[in-house]
């Protein structure tokens, strides 16, 4: 099977955008890669970890994004080329370090990959990481197709090293997760030797200490680097123009939106009327190039996802050079031609362009959409987003919300980030009442846990996953302990970073390279902080619920580890602990005493309601055989048997 690490220049492969980025980094001579898993970024470090056996490369899944950036920076300080990858809000986590790193500069080429999630397909935010590049004054690159994703990544290392600054490469879900043909270049030869030269003079960027102080001097240097980047970007092959020399409408675009523009122009048959200026170097903008293209058009539309980053930066150039290029009519997000949230697609872009150009344009996919809706209505199960069959989180939230209802003091759960964020929804019995950043569940709970002094008598519970625990919960836990907050923390330990594909974390016994690694034990760690820790199996519903009720009566910080591995974990996958069936004679169905409890309230997708028979059924195709529903059924009509 061909591998990403094959040294086969000229080969053409079908690669996912994230793999193309990884390949570009390998071709640039990457030696250290780090990251924290997060959709849509995870495949970058995942594919590098697979390549690590074949090329001289160290890869790690760090405890969090900030640490991953620091690990990559250390390699750069030692002269190696390094990369860190994360999703958009990972940049928020790392941003404090990033601000200072931009000030100190780097040595070996260092690329920070941020994969944004327009439309929040796998996020609880629609954050824009591009502003960080401008905020901390570092160059920003945005690939517009798959070959470019590879080539631009490779070049980003050159650029970084040439300027002495970290470079941010920003992708989006449709760039990271879609696939295209990528032509390989060769891999480099000998790896560099790591040496951190730090004995030199304070201000010596090659031999001195790596610091962001003295601030005035360093900040000026940093801004000089950005000025040089701007000059280099004027001639960058990643900024392209296609269309007539004097287009009726100029589309200024970047990233995946460039693909939508091309498709929209083709759908409208408007190639002779619309020019597409695709910018790959979105910060700092190549002023000369932008001015030249603006000068040739009267109407300008900005096509980009989420916030008007490109739009506003281009408008500054237009305002500053209005005397030379004339006054333009702008279309984009600020005046509402395109939305400031959600994903774009070719239809949306075509509709926007058609409106400006006066081309009649209906919904080309209306018929298809109708057919799809009809098919979905007839054939797809009627349910919202839910936990997988056999998911231990369903059992955990079942018993947590039961315990809180029984406790009867209007207690609530502060949520955190992971699969279990879904507990906001009916599949998790709407248990979560706050949901923000990683680690925020415990932080918020720590705050709630001090409000007893002002009359709050509601018990406070927080949940976090095992990976999240190491990521950012620990400081909040320490805070709660030190300040004697009244909080019950349930750690939903499903033995891996399950949501993003079972990447190892500091609690795992292996690392990203597949080597045995010392695992940092959650219980031992919590006990060492002086809190009581109980470990329970969420599949032992009744006992664990009683334990939760007992813990709810106590004050201070209490830790409850709910341990049961993910139904999709390599250890469990395709193995059923039980064969489950419904005893029709015992099933009460819709009558008083049940009211379709299993399918209406418990809602595991492995349970079906047979309307005609008025009985519950097990969907044997998807049932994972955990057997939890057999405890839920008030009649004992759901029977589990060891196969």
């Amino acid at each position: 099977m061909p591998k990403l690490s094959d040294n086969s220049a000229g080969d053409e492969r079908l690669l996912m955008g994230n793999e193309a980025i990884a390949r570009g980094a390998l071709e640039a001579g990457l030696q250290v890669a780090a990251g924290y898993p997060g959709t849509p970024s995870s495949e970058i470090v995942d594919s590098l970890s697979k390549a690590a056996g074949d090329v001289p490369l160290y890869v790690e899944w760090s405890a969090n994004e900030k640490v991953s950036m620091e690990v990559a920076a250390a390699a750069s300080f030692a002269g190696l080329r390094s990369l860190c990858a994360m999703k958009q809000n990972g940049i928020n986590v790392a941003s404090d370090f990033l601000l200072h790193l931009a000030g100190s500069g780097i040595r070996g080429g260092m690329v920070i990959v941020s994969c944004d999630d327009p439309g929040a397909l796998s996020s609880v935010n629609e954050g824009e990481s591009r502003h960080f590049a401008r905020l901390v004054e570092i160059p920003l690159l945005e690939p517009g197709e798959f070959q470019e994703a590879k080539d631009m990544t490779r070049w980003a290392f050159e650029l970084s090293e040439q300027l002495g600054t970290p470079v941010m490469l920003r992708s989006v879900t449709r760039m990271s997760h879609a696939s295209g043909i990528v032509r390989f270049d060769s891999l480099p030869g000998k790896p560099r030797r790591a040496v951190f030269r730090c004995e030199g003079f304070m201000l010596d960027t090659d031999e001195g200490p790596m610091v962001s102080a003295p601030v005035g001097y360093r900040h000026e240097m940093q801004q000089e680097r950005i000025r040089r980047a701007r000059e280099l970007f004027e001639a960058s092959p990643f900024n392209t123009y296609e269309g007539p020399e004097r287009p009726e409408l100029l589309a200024v675009t970047c990233s995946a939106a460039a693909l939508y523009c091309r498709e929209a122009v083709s759908m409208l048959g408007a190639a002779g009327r619309v020019g597409i200026l695709k910018i790959g170097t979105t910060w700092p903008l190549p002023v000369g190039l932008v001015k030249m293209r603006l000068a040739a058009a009267e109407k300008v539309i900005f096509v980009e996802e989420i916030l008007p980053f490109l739009e506003e930066n281009v408008k500054v150039i237009a305002a500053e050079s209005a005397r030379e290029i004339g006054v333009k009519t702008f279309y984009g997000k600020n005046e509402g031609t395109l939305p400031m949230n959600g994903e774009l697609n070719p239809d949306r872009v075509a509709a926007a362009m058609a409106g400006i150009l006066g081309i009649p344009f209906g919904d080309p996919a209306a018929d298809y959409r109708r057919q799809a809706e009809a098919a979905a209505e007839a054939m797809a199960p009627q349910r919202g987003q839910t936990f997988c069959p056999g998911c231990p989180h369903r059992a955990s939230f079942w018993l947590l919300q039961e315990a809180l209802h029984l406790d009867n003091r209007k207690g609530f759960v502060c949520g955190d980030i992971g699969c279990y964020s879904l507990a906001l929804l009916p599949c998790g019995f709407n248990s979560l009442k706050t949901l923000h950043a990683m680690g925020s569940g415990m932080g918020i709970a720590s705050g709630f846990g001090k409000l007893g002094a002002f009359g709050m008598d509601q018990p406070v519970v927080t949940v976090c996953g095992d990976s999240t625990f190491y990521h950012a919960v620990l400081p909040a836990l320490i805070n709660a302990i030190h300040h004697r907050a009244d909080v019950l923390m349930a750690i939903l330990d499903n033995s891996g970073t399950a949501m993003t594909g079972f990447q190892p974390h500091p609690g795992s016994a292996v690392n990203a390279l597949g080597e045995p690694a010392p695992h940092v034990d959650i219980e031992t760690l919590c006990r060492s902080l002086g809190v009581s820790v109980e470990v329970r199996d969420p599949f032992d519903l009744a006992e664990t619920r009683r334990a939760v009720n007992r813990l709810l009566e106590q004050g201070g910080v209490r830790v409850l580890v709910l341990r049961q591995s993910c139904a999709l974990s390599p250890a469990k996958r395709a193995k059923r602990a039980f064969r489950v069936h419904v005893d029709d004679a015992a099933c009460l169905g819709e009558s008083c005493g049940c009211g379709r409890f299993c399918t209406r309230v418990f809602r595991c997708p492995g349970l079906l309601w047979d309307k005609a028979a008025g009985k519950a059924r097990i969907d044997e195709v998807i049932c994972a055989g955990c057997g939890i529903c057999s405890f839920i059924c008030p009649q004992g009509a759901i029977v589990k048997e060891v196969p």
């Binding site: 397909l121 609880v124 919202g384 209802h405 009867n408 005493g593 049940c594």
Partner: protein, 380 residues
């Protein structure tokens, strides 16, 4: 537009669908939703346990009934059996078929007695005269009932309902605990397991629930009440909230060591709690704030729907003598038969009811009925 369940659906962390037509408010029924609104949310739940154990939606924790999950059945046993939902009193009386003995103040009265267990040991383990302990024990011994649902001690002053089949175990349950015990949840469990005939020692609200069950149970597919062989009622002024009581006492004595509690006649204005040594006297003004809200709206002091009802006695000699006796209202032929048996077997001893005791009991009961009307008027 403010979005609610009526006009929007959330399908996932990122999918909101606005309904083309807002959902209409479902018509009112007589199920869990109405039970929640009329009883639980209104603070009127008595903690009797009648709605618990019939389905997975209602549960008891501590001394409180909670709605664990949302049921969407329009007509439910939970609402029908709850002692605090509306019911036609005339219909209730008609199923009791006791119209002839009915009194406005005390319900059916076939006789008022002053009595106590003849066996002194029985009395010591029980409250006051030990009449209930003696009668339940007798009913088990004589096979009138095969099991008795009673209340024993639990942790931190929380009473624990239990089913007793061994007559020798009855005295272990013979104390007043002043916190609601969900004996009807235990009755539901025992009936489901096929026990019977079952004897029940019930507070007035619990007795009322059983009467409602006789009235409507069969229409709702519930025949458990047919397993009931005897219901001994308890006089009751109020119960205390469990969290309130454990909070009130926890600084004052070791909760696990509490062996007896009593409220002497109202002129003493105190709750007596015995742990080790002499009883601790808690002023009644500290106790009244932790009375269950639902008890204030209760208009039955003497368990009018039981076969017979037992409470504390009043004697001309004063409380020191009266505290060793009980006052008993016999209401039904079944109650009468048991008392007759007790007399024949010399399980109970009797003394003459002092003149005026019936009138005093009636006026005390009327005061409670009046207070309940006022509390309900204030609430609505």
């Amino acid at each position: 537009m403010k979005l609610s369940e009526k006009n929007a659906v959330v399908y996932g962390l990122n999918t909101v669908v606005i309904r083309k037509k807002p959902l209409e408010e479902p018509a009112r029924g007589a199920g869990q939703r109405e039970l929640n609104e009329e009883v639980l949310d209104a603070g009127l739940c008595t903690g009797c346990g009648a709605c618990v154990g019939l389905c997975p939606y209602q549960a008891i924790h501590g001394d409180a009934t909670v709605a664990l999950h949302r049921c969407d059945i329009r007509t439910g046993r939970c609402w029908a059996f709850c002692p605090r939902t509306k019911v036609d009193p005339a219909a209730l009386r008609s199923i009791a078929a006791l119209g002839a003995d009915w009194t406005a103040e005390l319900g059916p009265v076939r006789g008022l007695y002053l009595c106590r267990a003849r066996d002194g040991a029985n009395r010591g383990a029980a409250q006051h005269g030990g009449t209930v302990t003696a009668l339940v024990r007798l009913a088990l011994q004589e096979g009138m009932i095969a099991a008795a649902v009673l209340t024993g001690p639990g942790e931190r002053l929380l009473p624990r309902p239990l089913t007793v089949t061994d007559p020798g175990k009855v005295p272990e349950t013979g104390k007043s605990r002043f916190v609601a015990s969900p004996v009807l949840a235990e009755f539901n469990r025992a009936a489901r397991e096929g026990a019977g005939p079952i004897g029940l020692v019930a507070t007035p609200c619990q007795a009322l629930s059983v009467a409602k069950r006789k009235l409507s149970g069969r229409n709702l597919g519930d025949a458990a009440v047919d397993r009931l062989g005897l219901m001994v009622g308890l006089f009751c002024g109020w119960a205390l909230s469990w969290r309130g009581l454990s909070g009130l006492l926890s600084g004052k004595l070791n909760l696990e060591a509490v062996s007896a509690m009593d409220v002497p006649p109202s002129k003493y204005r105190r709750l007596e709690v015995t742990a080790q040594g002499a009883p601790l006297h808690i002023p009644i003004d500290e106790v009244l704030p932790i009375v269950r809200r639902s008890c204030l709206s209760c208009d039955d002091m003497t368990a009018e729907y039981a076969d017979l009802s037992v409470g504390s006695a009043r004697l001309p000699e004063g409380w020191d003598e009266a505290r060793h006796w009980n006052q008993m209202i016999v209401r039904t032929p079944r109650g009468e038969a048991l008392v007759e048996l007790a007399r024949r077997r010399e399980v109970l001893e009797f003394r003459e009811v002092p003149e005026g005791n019936l009138e005093r009991l009636k006026s005390a009961s009327l005061r409670k009925k009046q207070a309940a009307r006022e509390a309900e008027a204030k609430r609505s």
